[in-house]
C-alpha cells in the first residue's frame, strides 16, 4: 500500500502535516514542561477550569446566534459581536441608575432580571435592524456581498455606540450580594461565576426545548434543512428568519450582561474579540448545530483559560497571558483548516444522511 499513497501526498499536504505535528508537539512539550515544573497548585487549576466554564458559557450563548443564523441563511453574521455589545452597553446605564438608587443591592435578583431583559431587548432590536437593513435586501446576491455589508454593519454599530455612549471604558456596577464565594463540596466558586453558569445553562436549556418542542422551533429546523421546501409546506420563511435573528440577539444580550458581571467593564469595542471567539466556538461545534455551539463554547472557554498556563508557560514564554487570544485564534485557524465540519459535525452529517 505504501507505494500507493506516497506519491499522492503533495507538497501542500506535507506542509499541513508538518503544521499539525508542530502544534501537537508544542502543546505536548509545553504541557509536560508545566506539569513537571509544578508551578501551579491544584486549586489554581480548578480556578482556571471554573473561570473557563463561566467564560465558555458566555461564548456559547453568543455562538448560538452565529450558528442559528448560519444554519438558516448560510451566512456569517459578522455584526453579531456588536449585537452582543449593544445590549450590554445599554443595560449598563440601567444598572448604573439602579445602583445609584440602591435598588441594585436591595433587590439583586429583580435588578438582575431587569438588566437582563433590557439587554436582551436592545440586542434583539439591533439584530433585527441589521437583518432588515443589511441582509434582507441582499438575500439573492453573491455570497461576498452580504459578508461585506456585515463587516460594514459591524463597524457602523461599533462607532455608532461609541458616538452615542462615549468612548471610555465603563465599570459595571457591582452587586454586593454576589461578591465573594459560595462553597460547593469543598470547592469555593466565585458567586458571579455561579450566576453566569446558571443563567447560561437555563438559557441554553430553554432554547433547546424551544427549538425541539415548539411549532416555531420545528419551522426553524425545517427552514435550515431546505428553505424552498419549507416555504412549500406553508412556512413563512421571512418570519422564521426574523425569529432566528431575534432569538440569537436575545441570547447575545443575555451574554452581554453576563460578560459585564464577569469582566466588570463595558466599552464600544468589547464585541469584537468575544464575537470572533464565539464564532470559533460555533465552528468548533459544527456550525449550524445548536448543541455543538454550546459544547464548542464551553470547550473554547476552558482551553483558553487553562491554555496559557498549561501549554505556554512550560515552553518558557514570558507573560503567557498576553497570548491568550493567540491560542483562541490559532484554534480558530486550525479548526477552519483541518476540521471545518467541527467536532460534532460528522455525527450531524451522519444523522442527516
Amino acid at each position: 500500500m505504501r507505494r500507493g499513497w506516497l506519491p499522492r501526498l503533495s507538497f501542500v499536504d506535507l506542509f499541513l502535516w508538518a503544521f499539525r505535528i508542530a502544534v501537537v508537539v508544542l502543546v505536548v512539550w509545553g504541557t509536560i514542561g508545566t506539569l513537571t515544573k509544578g508551578a501551579y497548585t491544584r486549586e489554581q487549576w480548578l480556578d482556571f477550569v471554573i473561570f473557563g466554564l463561566a467564560q465558555g458559557g458566555i461564548y456559547a450563548l453568543i455562538a448560538l446566534g452565529y450558528t442559528m443564523v448560519y444554519g438558516i441563511l448560510r451566512m456569517i453574521n459578522f455584526a453579531h459581536g456588536e449585537v452582543f455589545m449593544s445590549g450590554s452597553f445599554t443595560a449598563y446605564h440601567f444598572a448604573l441608575a439602579m445602583g445609584a438608587s440602591g435598588f441594585l443591592n436591595r433587590q439583586p435578583l429583580l435588578a438582575l432580571l431587569v438588566i437582563l431583559i433590557v439587554s436582551a431587548v436592545t440586542s434583539t432590536a439591533v439584530a433585527l435592524l441589521v437583518e432588515r437593513v443589511a441582509y434582507r435586501p441582499l438575500r439573492r446576491a453573491p455570497r461576498l456581498v452580504p459578508l461585506i455589508t456585515a463587516i460594514g454593519a459591524s463597524f457602523f454599530l461599533q462607532y455608532a455606540f461609541k458616538g452615542l455612549y462615549g468612548s471610555g471604558i465603563k465599570a459595571y456596577p457591582e452587586f454586593q450580594v454576589f461578591r465573594g464565594e459560595w462553597v460547593f463540596a469543598g470547592i469555593g466558586i466565585l458567586r458571579t461565576q455561579v450566576i453566569v453558569l446558571v443563567t447560561a445553562a437555563v438559557m441554553m436549556f430553554g432554547l433547546y426545548q424551544m427549538v425541539m418542542r415548539t411549532k416555531t422551533g420545528k419551522a426553524m429546523r425545517a427552514v435550515s434543512e431546505d428553505k424552498d421546501a419549507a416555504a412549500l409546506m406553508g412556512i413563512n420563511v421571512d418570519r422564521i428568519i426574523v425569529v432566528t435573528f431575534a432569538i440569537g440577539g436575545a441570547m447575545a444580550g443575555v451574554a452581554g450582561v453576563l460578560y459585564g458581571l464577569v469582566f466588570k467593564q463595558v466599552h464600544f469595542f468589547m464585541g469584537f474579540v468575544p464575537g470572533i471567539k464565539a464564532f470559533t466556538a460555533a465552528v468548533l461545534g459544527g456550525i449550524g448545530n445548536i448543541p455543538g455551539a454550546m459544547v464548542g463554547g464551553i470547550f473554547l472557554g476552558v482551553v483558553e483559560s487553562i491554555g496559557p498556563a498549561l501549554f505556554l508557560d512550560g515552553l518558557g514564554i514570558v507573560a503567557p497571558y498576553q497570548l491568550r487570544d493567540v491560542i483562541a485564534f490559532t484554534m480558530l485557524v486550525m479548526v477552519l483548516v483541518f476540521r471545518p465540519s467541527g467536532i460534532l459535525g460528522e455525527r450531524l452529517a451522519a444523522k442527516k444522511a
Binding site: T149, A153, I276, F279, Q322, V326, L332, V333, V337
Partner: protein, 563 residues
C-alpha cells in the same frame, strides 16, 4: 385595509424612520462636530445642513415611493418632513425635561442650541417642525422636477458644499497677490460668503446645463477622439499629482503619502479579493511584516540588526513579505468564502498579538515598538519631509500600478478571474489552483510590503499599535468603494476614503462610522463601485441587457487601437 389609511401609515412610518435618522445624527455627535464648519456664513452650518438634507431626503423618498396627483404627493412629502422635524423637536423638549447627558454625552446644551438656532426650546421645537416641513416640501419638489432641472440643482449644491468642505485648502491655494486674493475675499468671509456660495452654485448649475446640451448634440464621440481625451485627462491628473505638494504645502503632501500607502495596499488586496476572489481580512499582517523587516534592517536603535540603507532593505522586505504571503496562503488553500475571511482575520490578529507580546520583545520591541528608523537617503540627499516622501510614494505607486495592470491582463490574471468565478471549473480547465492562489497571496502581500517599508521610514518608528484590524477593513472598504477588481478604482477609493477624511478633520472622528455606512450603502445601491471593472459591472447588472451590449461595444472599440 383602506388605501387611504395605508398611505397615512406609510407617511408616518417614513417620517418616523427619517426622524430616527435625524435624532441619531444629532445624538452620535456628527451634527455638533460639523457645526464648526459653515456652508454659508451667517446662514447655515454643515451640521444644520445635514439635518436639512435628512428632511429633503424624507420628502424625496416619500414622493418616489408613492403615486398620485402632484398636490397629494407634495403634501405627503411636506408631512413626512414635518414628522422628521417634530422628532428633533421632541428631542429638544425631552432634553429640557430630563438630563440626557449622563447616558448620551453628546446631548449637550450646545447641541440643543444648534438645533433650535438659539431660540429656546419651545420656539425652537416649532421652528424645527416648520424647517422639517419646508425641507420635506423642497425634497418632494426636487423629486417631481424633470431630470434636466434636477441635475443642475444637484451639481450646484454639490459645488457649494465643496466650497465649504475644502475651504482651508481652497483659501490656501487662493492666497497670493492680485487676482487670487480678490477671488478669495469674494468667496470667503469666515466661511463661504453668501454671494460667493450663490455665484458658485449658479456657475456650476449653468455649466451643467450647457454641458448636457452639448452632450445631447454630440451623440457618439468617435473612439479615437475619446482615447485622445482620456490621455489628456490622465496627463493632467499626473501633472496635478506631481505639483500638488508644491501648491498645497506639506499638509497636502502628508495626506497624499497616506493615500499612496493605502493605494499600494489596495492594489495588493485587489489582486486577492478583486481578481482571485479570496477575501482576506488579515491583510494588515503583510503591511506589518514589511514595516518590521525594514525596521529591523535599517534601524539605528538597539534593535536594528544590519544598519542597511533603505534602498537595500526594501527589496529584502518585498521578498520577505512575498514569502510570508505564500506561507500564510498554504494552510488556507482549501478554505473558501466566509471561512476564508475569518481564517485570514485570525492570522492578522495572531500577527499583531505576537508582535505586541513580551514574548518577542527582545527582537521586535514589544509594545514599545522599534525606534530610530532613519529616513532614506538618495545620492547624499535625505528624503526627510512629507514632500520628499510623497515623490517616493508616488514613484512606487506608479510602479505597482503598472505591475498590477500588467498582471491583470496576463495569463495569471485571467487564471485568477477564472478561480474567482468558479474554482472547480477553473481547475477542470487546467488552472493550477495551488500555484495560482499562492501567487495571489504572495504578490498581494508583496505590494503591502512596499507600503509597510515606506510607512516605517515615514513615521521613523514601528509600533504594533499601527497594525490594527481597522487597517485591513479600511483597505477592503476602499477597494469596494472604488470598484472591486478595478485598478483605477483603487486610486479613486483611496482618495475618497483616506484622502477626504484626512482633509476634513471634523469628520475624522466619525470616519469608521461613515465607512461602515458606506460599505452597507455601496453594497445595496452600487455594488460595482465608483469606478467599476468591466466584468464586475456586467455581472452585477445582468438584468440590463442594454448596458451589457454598450459595454461590449466600448470594449471592442477600446481594443481596436492597440493591436
Amino acid at each position: 385595509m383602506q388605501p387611504g389609511s395605508n398611505t397615512i401609515t406609510t407617511v408616518v412610518k417614513k417620517g418616523a424612520v427619517f426622524g430616527v435618522v435625524a435624532v441619531f445624527l444629532a445624538m452620535v455627535g456628527i451634527v455638533e462636530a460639523l457645526h464648526q464648519r459653515l456652508v454659508i456664513t451667517g446662514v447655515i452650518s454643515l451640521g444644520q445642513a445635514i439635518l436639512l438634507f435628512t428632511g429633503l431626503g424624507a420628502g424625496f423618498v416619500m414622493v418616489r415611493r408613492t403615486a398620485g396627483s402632484r398636490a397629494v404627493m407634495i403634501l405627503q412629502g411636506t408631512v413626512v418632513g414635518a414628522i422628521t422635524g417634530a422628532m428633533l423637536g421632541g428631542l429638544v423638549l425631552l432634553g429640557q425635561a430630563v438630563n440626557l447627558r449622563n447616558v448620551f454625552p453628546n446631548a449637550s446644551p450646545a447641541l440643543y442650541g444648534i438645533l433650535t438656532v438659539e431660540q429656546g426650546p419651545s420656539t425652537g421645537a416649532i421652528l424645527l417642525i416648520i424647517a422639517g416641513a419646508l425641507s420635506g416640501l423642497a425634497g418632494a419638489g426636487i423629486a417631481l422636477l424633470p431630470q434636466s432641472v434636477r441635475r443642475p440643482v444637484f451639481a450646484g449644491t454639490a459645488a457649494a458644499l465643496v466650497l465649504s468642505l475644502f475651504q482651508e485648502l481652497l483659501q490656501l491655494m487662493l492666497q497670493g497677490e492680485g487676482l487670487p486674493t480678490r477671488v478669495r475675499d469674494f468667496l470667503y468671509v469666515e466661511g463661504p460668503s453668501q454671494v460667493g456660495a450663490l455665484t458658485v452654485f449658479a456657475l456650476v448649475a449653468l455649466a451643467n446645463i450647457l454641458n448636457s446640451r452639448r452632450r445631447a448634440r454630440v451623440v457618439q464621440v468617435p473612439g479615437a477622439r475619446r482615447t485622445g481625451r482620456a490621455i489628456t485627462l490622465v496627463v493632467l491628473f499626473i501633472l496635478l499629482l506631481l505639483l500638488s505638494p508644491i501648491v498645497g504645502g506639506s499638509f497636502v503632501a502628508q495626506v497624499l503619502v497616506v493615500v499612496g500607502l493605502y493605494t499600494l495596499m489596495g492594489l495588493g488586496l485587489n489582486l486577492e479579493v478583486g481578481l482571485a476572489g479570496l477575501l482576506d481580512l488579515g491583510f494588515v499582517a503583510f503591511f506589518a511584516i514589511g514595516a518590521y523587516t525594514v525596521g529591523l534592517l535599517i534601524s539605528e536603535g538597539p534593535l536594528g540588526i544590519a544598519h542597511w540603507s533603505f534602498w537595500a532593505a526594501v527589496p529584502v522586505a518585498v521578498v520577505f513579505t512575498l514569502i510570508a504571503g505564500v506561507i500564510f496562503g498554504l494552510p488556507i488553500l482549501g478554505i473558501r468564502g466566509d471561512y476564508l475571511a475569518i481564517a485570514t482575520l485570525g492570522f492578522g490578529e495572531i500577527t499583531r498579538l505576537l508582535v505586541a507580546s513580551d514574548f518577542l520583545r527582545s527582537w521586535l520591541g514589544g509594545s514599545q515598538g522599534m525606534l530610530e528608523i532613519p529616513k532614506p537617503v538618495i545620492a547624499g540627499f535625505e528624503l526627510s519631509g512629507p514632500e520628499h516622501l510623497f515623490y517616493l510614494t508616488l514613484a512606487s505607486s506608479a510602479l505597482v500600478v503598472y505591475v498590477a495592470w500588467r498582471l491583470q491582463h496576463s495569463r495569471l490574471g485571467r487564471a485568477w478571474m477564472a478561480i474567482r468565478e468558479d474554482e472547480d471549473v477553473a481547475q477542470a480547465l487546467g488552472v493550477n489552483l495551488v500555484a495560482v492562489k499562492l501567487l495571489a497571496y504572495g504578490l498581494g502581500a508583496a505590494f503591502a510590503g512596499v507600503a509597510g517599508a515606506i510607512f516605517a521610514v515615514m513615521v521613523g518608528s514601528v509600533f504594533p499599535h499601527s497594525f490594527q484590524l481597522l487597517i485591513s477593513i479600511n483597505v477592503l472598504a476602499l477597494i469596494i468603494v472604488g470598484g472591486i477588481g478595478s485598478n483605477p478604482g483603487v486610486v479613486v477609493g483611496a482618495l475618497a476614503l483616506v484622502g477626504l477624511p484626512e482633509l476634513l478633520r471634523e469628520v475624522g472622528e466619525f470616519r469608521f462610522l461613515v465607512y461602515g455606512a458606506v460599505l452597507v450603502a455601496m453594497m445595496l445601491l452600487r455594488p460595482e463601485g465608483l469606478w467599476p471593472a468591466a466584468a464586475i459591472r456586467r455581472e452585477l447588472h445582468e438584468e440590463e441587457p442594454e448596458a451589457v451590449t454598450r459595454e461590449a461595444i466600448e470594449l471592442a472599440e477600446a481594443k481596436e487601437p492597440n493591436p
